[in-house]
Symmetry: C2
Subunit: 79 residues, 2 copies
Amino acid sequence: MKARVHVMLKNGVLDPQGEAVRHALGSMGFDGVNGVRQGKVIELDLAETDEAEARKTVTDMCEKLLANTVIESYSVELG
Amino acid sequence: MKARVHVMLKNGVLDPQGEAVRHALGSMGFDGVNGVRQGKVIELDLAETDEAEARKTVTDMCEKLLANTVIESYSVELG
């Protein structure tokens, strides 16, 4: 089973990468970009086939390794 | 209009970040992880409200800045 995890900085946490992208887009002539946030996406190929079990495992992975839950939020998609 | 861009290394391109995550998960006792790929997700808040126009602009941003199309592939989601 495939899982996709999105890890983004929480709202209110300064995102210098996103700001750099926004600034670069502006200087390249792309107007009308109000905000940019950059995060990570992690695609996992799991041996587990049960969806509920996979979600539990991936959530555990996020809490322990993939996200820094002090400043980052995560979401898990399975399929 | 919000846009979300995923940028992933193309298949066949070595992904050392993904490998590091896979190895770390294994050493933490998470078995059954066959593969991990790590990429970027970029969330854009655009002033543009027309979906077709926004898709064209974001694709242009990907080609020119957000992705290195030699080694990375990208996908654009709007909404």
